[in-house]
Amino acid sequence: MSSNPSKVEFNIPAKYSDLSSLEERLQQFITRHIQYCDDQSQYDISLAMHEICTNIIDHAYGPNQIGEIEISFSLCHNPFGLEIELIDNGRSFEFDSIIAPDLNEPQVRGYGLFLVKQLMDEVTYSTCDTHNKWLLTKFLPLHTSVD
């Protein structure tokens, strides 16, 4: 746990079966630290985080690599919002090479990162020799922190 009371850090196994518990942790953080976050915003944040995790499981680690996802929830200010950081030690990719899906032609793949960009206000991806880092930010309208 972080010494910052409005920041929570933890690791989860990079497995599909662990993702629903991750969403419960997000809900707990929001309930504890954010006075107002409507149901749709909470759902959108949860879905975006879920999509990044499945991307990490599918592409950064792939089917033959066991790994972990390092996650943190924190508050940002000016403007107020929620930041989610997700770090993996798998393969990196060219974030800018992702092509948006043709929404007039339904396709089986390619919606995940498109959704993340639609659901969050800011999405950044960076990579270095040892890890890849996603930072998702959602700005929230009413901004009284409970703590």
Partner: protein, 113 residues
């Protein structure tokens, strides 16, 4: 995930409940494709009791739609009751690609049942 399958007017309805995500989407895909393998081409996927869909769920729906339409059939979707779960369908414009209704009976009527 509990599913109910009903047969009426040669239209098959499948009604998943709860979450459809990367963890359990393969199960739903297998169930739908088993129906398509059995010759079902007019399918209603009733999502009223679904509370969460991710892109893996979208992939299952698209694959069902493509297979059904290749066989001159169609897939109609029933909107989730929970408004939060509807957002992914509008963002991806699935509400334009699929014929979406508010109830299974409306979907059945759209098939001419």
């Amino acid at each position: 995930m509990t599913k109910i399958t009903e047969y009426s007017f040669r239209v098959t309805t499948i009604a998943p409940t709860g979450r459809i995500d990367a963890f359990n989407a393969p199960d739903l895909r297998a169930e739908i494709h088993a129906l398509l393998d059995d010759g079902v081409v007019r399918l209603i996927i009733d999502l009223q009791k679904v509370t969460f869909c991710d892109s893996a769920a979208m992939a299952v729906l698209v694959s069902a739609l493509k297979r059904a339409r290749q066989a001159n059939g169609d897939v109609k979707l029933v909107w989730p009751i929970e408004k939060t779960a509807r957002r992914i369908f509008t963002l991806t414009k699935f509400d334009r690609v699929f014929d979406m209704t508010d109830s299974a009976s409306d979907a059945l009527a759209a098939f001419g049942g």
